[in-house]
C-alpha cells in the first residue's frame, strides 16, 4: 500500500533515503551522526524483541533500505524509556527519532499491519479529537474489543474487578458512556487541529514539490 505522497518522495530522493529521513523525519537530521557503536541497542529493554534495534535501523537508513525501514514494526515497539538517549555517546535523540520514523512510515502509508501500538495510537487519537479530552471508558473498552467481540468480552470479564475499583475510587465514570464531557470550546479545538493539519500538509508538500 503506497500513497501518492509516498511515490513523490521516492521520486524526489531517488535512493538517498538518509537525506529523505533528514529532511522529513522528526529529529531525522541526527541519523547521520550515529557512529554505530550499538550502545542504544544494548541499552534498550525491548531491543531483543525487535526485528531491528535502533542502531540497525539507522544503518538500514544509510543503506537505503527505505521500504524495510518504513514498514518495520521496530520503531512502534519503542516505549519511550529514554535509556538509549541517556547513553548514546553521540547524543542522538533516539527515542524521538523512533517516534519520528513511526509517524513518517504511517504518513507514507507504509505502517505495518496489525501492529498493536499503531492501532492503539490511532484509537487514542480518534478518541481524543472527538471531544478534546480522552474518554477513558470508551478508550478502555475500545482497547478490550480491538481484536473482536469474543476476545473483548473475555478481557472485560477478566478486568471486571479493576473496573469496579476504578469506579469506586472515582477514577472512571459510567456516565462517560453517554458521550462524556469535552473541552469548553470544541469547535475552536477542531479548528486548531485543522490548521495544524494544513501546516503539516504544506510542509510535506513543499518537500515533494519537484524542484
Amino acid at each position: 500500500m503506497t500513497t501518492a505522497v509516498n511515490q513523490a518522495m521516492v521520486e524526489k530522493y531517488k535512493g538517498n533515503f538518509l537525506k529523505e529521513v533528514t529532511d522529513n523525519v522528526e529529529e531525522g537530521n541526527w541519523v547521520k551522526m550515529c557512529m554505530q557503536c550499538g550502545v542504544c541497542s544494548g541499552s534498550c529493554p525491548l531491543g531483543p524483541h525487535w526485528d531491528h534495534p535502533p542502531q540497525e535501523l539507522f544503518m538500514m537508513i544509510r543503506a537505503n533500505k527505505r521500504d524495510e525501514v518504513l514498514s518495520s514494526t521496530s520503531m512502534w515497539m519503542c516505549t519511550s524509556c529514554y535509556n538509549c538517549v541517556a547513553r548514546c555517546p553521540r547524543g542522538l535523540p533516539i527515542t524521538h527519532i523512533m517516534h519520528g520514523l513511526a509517524h513518517y512510515g504511517k504518513r507514507m502509508g507504509m505502517k505495518p499491519k496489525n501492529q498493536p501500538t499503531e492501532k492503539f495510537g490511532q484509537m487514542f487519537w480518534d478518541n481524543l479529537i472527538k471531544k478534546g479530552r480522552v474518554n477513558e471508558l470508551k478508550l478502555g473498552l475500545g482497547l478490550y474489543f480491538k481484536d473482536g467481540f469474543a476476545e473483548g468480552l473475555k478481557v472485560s470479564m477478566g478486568k471486571q474487578k479493576l473496573g469496579m475499583n476504578m469506579m469506586k475510587a472515582k477514577r472512571m465514570s459510567p456516565m462517560e458512556m453517554l458521550g462524556g464531557h469535552g473541552v469548553s470550546d470544541l469547535s475552536g479545538f477542531h479548528a486548531m487541529l485543522k490548521k495544524a493539519e494544513e501546516l503539516e500538509a504544506a510542509r510535506v508538500g513543499a518537500n515533494t514539490d519537484a524542484k
Binding site: 537525506k19 557512529m35 554505530q36 542502531q55 544503518m59 533500505k65
Partner: protein, 738 residues
Amino acid sequence: MKIGGYLCTGCGIGDRLDTKSLESVAVREGRIGFCKTHDFLCSQAGVDMIKADMALEGDDQVTKAVIMACSRRAKTESFNFGAVPTARVNLREGVIWIRPEGSEHDETTQEMAADYIRMGCAEVKAMQQADASGEQGKNNHIMVVGGGITGMTAALEASKAGYYASIIEKSDRLGGVMGQLKQRQPEHSPFQNPQDTGVAALIAAVEADDKITVYLSSTIAKTAGAPGRFEVDIASTVGAGTHAEFGAIVQATGFTPYDANNLPEFSYGKSPNVVTQLELEALARAAGDGPIKRADGKVVENVVFVQCAGQRSTKEGHLSYCSGHCCATSIKQAMYFKDTNPDIETTVLFDDIRTPGAGGENFYRSAQDKFVTFRKGKVSTVDVKGNDLQVNFKDLILDEDAHMGADLVVLATGMLPNSGTDIDTMKDKDESGEVKVSVQSILNLNYRQGPDMPQLVNGFTDSHFICFPYETRRTGIYSAGPVRRPMDAAQAQTDAMGAVMKAIQAIENSAIGRAAHPRSGDLSFPSFRKEGCTQCKRCTVECPFGAIDENEKGYPQYNEARCRRCGTCMGACPVQVISFKNYSIETVGAQLKAVDVPDEFQEKPRILVLACENDAYPALDMAAMKRNESSAFIRVIPVRCLGSTNTIWIKDALGSGYDGVVMMGCKKGADYQCHFVKGSEMAHVRMAKIGDTLSTMNLEAERVAVHEVAITDIDRAPKLLDEMVAVINRVGLSPFKF
C-alpha cells in the same frame, strides 16, 4: 679513612629493635669505625651530624657511611652525600614493617636486623668512590636523520632550546610524506575542516634558522663514537661527503607506505581507479580547487574508501597492526570531495573507526555532519566493471553481503617503518610471515653489535614502551615519528619534541659523565681486569645497549657514555672480571657472605633474595608499607638489574649454607618491562643453566627460583617469598651448613 655507622631509632625502629646491641654488631662484627644513633636521622640535625663527620680532617674524617634506617628508596635526598660511598641498611621497610610484634618474634626479627647491618658494613667496605671517567666531551650539536615533519620539528625544537641541529635527508628536498599531501587533519578546535599541511612554513623556518644545517641528497656512511662524541661520515649523492661530530642523534626516518600490489583482491594494479590514500593526495593536489578527477579525466562522483586494506589482518603478507592515521586520513579525503560538491557520494567502509584524541573525534563528527556515509563492513573484493568498480563487502551491522558501485576506490594501506637493518633478525630469520621492507642500514653504526638499532615487533625501533618511549637501545640515539610506532602527523610532531628533549638530556648527562636513565646521575661505569679476561666476548654480546666494542687486541672496549650501568656485562662475565666502583661482584658477594647462617640444629633457614631495584624491590617496599608480614628468614639484596646477577653469587650462597635463592626481575620477552631491555631475559637464560650446578651439589632444583615481578605486584611479591619458605619446609634445610 674511616667508616661511620649511623643508626636511626626513629620511625619505630628504636621501639622494635634492641639498638644497643645493633650498635655493637656494627662496630664489632661489621668492623666499622663507630656507630652513632640518632632518633631522627633524616632530620636536619641528623644529616648535619653525618656531614660534620665527613667534614673532619685526617684520620677522623668519615669517608664511607652506613645508614641504618629506612629503605634506600626513601629519603634519597637527605642521605645523598655526593661522592662518599654510602650503604643503606633497610631496617624499616625491610625489617620492622614486615615483622609481627610480640615477644615470640623478637629473636628472629633482631637477627634479621643484625644481618642487614653486617651486610651493609660489608658492602660499603667493598665500595669505592665513583668518579666520571674523564673521557666525556660536550657537543651541542644534534644530528637529525630525516627531513620530514618529524625531523624538521626536531631540528627547530633543538634550535629553540639553544642547541644546533643538522638534518640529513636522503631525497633532494625537505618535507617527507607530508610534503606530498594536499592538506592535513585540523590541529585546532573546532577540528572541522582539513587545513594546510604547514610543510612550506616548516621548510622556510628550517632554512631561515642559522642553527640548523640541512644536508639534502645525503645519507650516513658511518656513525662511530658515543653520546657527546659521535663521529659521523655523511655521504652525498651529488657532491663530496662531510665528516661531522654530534652530541646526540634523533632518528626520524619515517615510513614507507605498504605496497598495495599485495592487494590484488581489491583490483589494485588492475584498474587505475583503485588508488592508495597517498595516490589520492596526488589527484587532489592536481585538482587544486576544482573537482577531483580520476586518471581518465572523469570527475569523481562516487568514491568508496576501504579502511584497513591489508592492515589489522592476520593474513599472510598483511600488516597485523593499525597504522593509526588512516581513518582520519580517509575522513579528510572524503571532505576533499564533499567540500567541492556535497552531492558526491562518499562512503567509508570501516571495520572499526579509530580517530585518536578529541580532535580526531570531532573531525569524525564533522565528516558525518557533511554527510560522509560510514558503513561498518568488511570489504572482500573490488571488481572492475567496465570503467567503473563494484565494491563487495559484508555489512557487519545488517549482517548481510552487500555491494556498491564506485567510480573511485581509495585503499587505506598501512605504514612500514624505515628503521634500517634489524640486527636481531639478521641472526634469526623469522618464519612468521611478517612483512619486511628491505632497507639498507640507515645509521651505519660502527658498533660491534651491528649497524642499526634493534627493533621491536613489526620492525619499529625498540624502546621501553612504558617508561622511556623515545629511548632506543643505542644510548644517545632517539627515535621519533612513525619509525617508532605507527602514528599521525600531530603525534609525530609531539614525538619529535620529546625525542629532542631526550637528546639534549643525553648531551648534558654525557658531558659530565652521568648515566642516562634509569640510573641518571650515576657516575660509575664498568671496567674490567684485563689479566683475567679470556676474551670470550660474552659481555660484548650481552650488553643490551651495544655499549661494548672490541679493541684491536680483542679485549672489550667500554664506551661508558653509551653505558646505562645495568651491570648485565658484569653478570655475564664467566670469570667475574667486570665491576663498577660502587657495584661489583664483591659488593654483593660480601653482603651475602656477611649473613650469619645458623647451623642446621637451629632450624632457621636463610633465603637469599636478589631483587631488581627498579620493580621488585619497590614492590617489596610497598608491601611493607601495607604491613604485609614476611618471613624472618629472607635476606634481600637489591640489584641494578637481574641481568647483573652473576651465577657466582648463587653458587657462593648455596655453598655457604643458604637454603634457597629467589631472584626477582622484570617481565621479559617481546612485551618486556625490564628497564634494561634484555637484562631480565639474560638472567633467566643464565639461571636456566644453574640446574647443573645444583645437581653437582646434590641440591634440589626448587631451591633456586626466578620470577618476573612488576612494580605493581605488591601483594604477589611477598607471596613468592612465602612460597620459597614453604619449599624449604618441604625439602628440608641445606646440607651445606657448618
